[in-house]
């Protein structure tokens, strides 16, 4: 674990000048508020160009896992430290973007929506799976330690290989399979409010993979479907529009060695799910349903 600050410093000097110029021009003729904002931004850039110690005001330490299979010096995993100024409302994702754009453009992580709907940035933050964009710095102890999701292959820095997760999601026939069409043109399937309410939570999954990463069973048994995929199956099994026979089929898919029975009710998945999906509860319900169905045949 090296705690060095990345080697960008020489370059950032030249950039600084270029920025200072463009900055000055933009400010001309701008309104009062804009000028103030410019000044503040200019200060911000100044202050971070040097060593982290230069930052005015409060800052915090961000420790980030670094690894690149093909770059000298990064092949051996290490942690890099970045000093990031504290701002109200700042999330871990903001801090990472700050560190990347100001200090080290090679810092790599997935992100897109910044609002907890795309599921790109599930990370291991201070020892827990969380979405970077959904985690306020002010809620964390310092230093803030950011690592890629455990139990998944690291591609580079904070990026992990999601293929296995996708494979498991695809393995549960994750698509609607109704038995019959509703009659009439432009007719919808009827679904009661209660039934929609029942599947509501399970439909909120954003495929972030946090749950899978937190589950020790999934870590041990690669074939275990994992909480997210089981939850996906739950979403369809419980949807009354699919019909009884289909439900039976869905339960059979779950009722296999590496299906629901692997779950040891660890609750880690439920704890970390950023969408608050009661995963353990859903898995348990499927187990009971499966047992009930099997008893019926007896």
């Amino acid at each position: 674990m090296s705690t060095q600050v990345p080697e960008e410093k020489e370059q950032s000097e030249t950039e600084q000048e270029v920025n200072a110029e463009t900055e000055a021009e933009i400010s001309e003729g701008a309104s009062y508020g804009d000028q103030r904002r410019d000044q503040r931004d200019a200060q911000r850039r100044q202050s971070v160009s040097g060593a982290p110690a230069d930052i005015e005001g409060e800052s915090f330490r961000l420790k980030v896992f670094r690894y690149d299979p093909e770059v000298e010096g990064k092949m051996e995993p290490r942690f890099d430290d970045f000093a990031v100024p504290k701002q109200k409302g700042m999330t871990v994702l903001d801090a990472l973007i700050y560190a990347r754009d100001r200090y080290d453009t090679t810092l790599t992580f997935r992100h897109s929506c910044r609002q907890a709907v795309c599921g790109s940035d599930a990370l291991f933050i201070n020892g827990r799976q969380r979405l970077g964009c959904q985690t306020q710095i002010s809620d964390l102890e310092e230093p803030v330690r950011v690592e890629p999701l455990p139990h998944q292959d690291v591609v580079k820095d904070l990026v992990v290989d999601m293929e296995h997760f996708y494979d498991q999601m695809h393995a549960v026939e994750p698509f609607f399979q109704p038995e019959e069409d509703p009659d009439g043109d432009l007719e919808e399937y009827r679904q009661t409010r209660e039934n929609r309410e029942k599947i509501k939570m399970s439909t909120r999954c954003i495929w972030c993979g946090a749950c899978m990463s937190s589950c020790n069973i999934a870590a041990g048994d690669n074939q275990y479907l994992g909480p997210a995929a089981i939850n996906k199956a739950y979403r369809f099994a419980m949807d009354e529009r699919e019909g009884e026979n289909m439900k039976e089929h869905r339960l059979n898919v779950m009722d296999q060695e590496h299906g629901v029975w692997r779950c040891q009710t660890q609750f880690s998945c439920t704890n970390v799910c950023p969408k608050d999906i009661p995963l353990t509860e859903h898995i348990q319900e499927l187990k009971r349903e499966a047992v009930k169905q099997n008893l019926k045949f007896w």
């Binding site: 690669n222 029975w261 187990k287 047992v291």
Partner: protein, 121 residues
């Protein structure tokens, strides 16, 4: 998915039995502990005492059941734990075999023992 003819094949049976045996064990294990550590102190156990208890048919049956459920529960638990660690293929079959044999041996020996204590053998 392959057609399934028997309904209990997938792990649901062992899962269910693990719970059922657990529920049964709660009662008997508590009884067992109480009887042999609190009512009669373990240090005062003698063959005569044991034998006397075992001569009661109800007690004998309970203890034998206790033994069998406990063995199933324990061995099945160990097996499940190993499966969770990703045990597959031939290794899995081998472990399963060993566990079944060990479990059966244990239960058989225990049953034989109980009958000895009962005085039947």
């Amino acid at each position: 998915m392959a057609e399934r003819y028997s309904s209990f094949q997938s792990g649901s049976a062992s899962w269910l039995f693990q719970r059922v045996t657990a529920a049964f064990l709660v009662v008997v294990l508590a009884f067992h502990f109480f009887l042999l550590h609190f009512m009669n102190h373990a240090s005062e156990v003698t063959f005569a005492g044991t034998s006397a208890r075992m001569s009661e048919w109800g007690y004998l049956v309970t203890m034998v059941l206790f033994l069998w459920t406990g063995t199933f529960h324990g061995v099945n638990g160990v097996y499940a734990a190993l499966l969770n660690q990703g045990l597959t293929g031939t290794k899995k079959t081998a472990v399963k075999g060993i566990l079944v044999v060990a479990g059966l041996a244990l239960a058989a020996q225990g049953t034989y023992l109980a009958l000895v204590m009962n005085g039947m053998v």
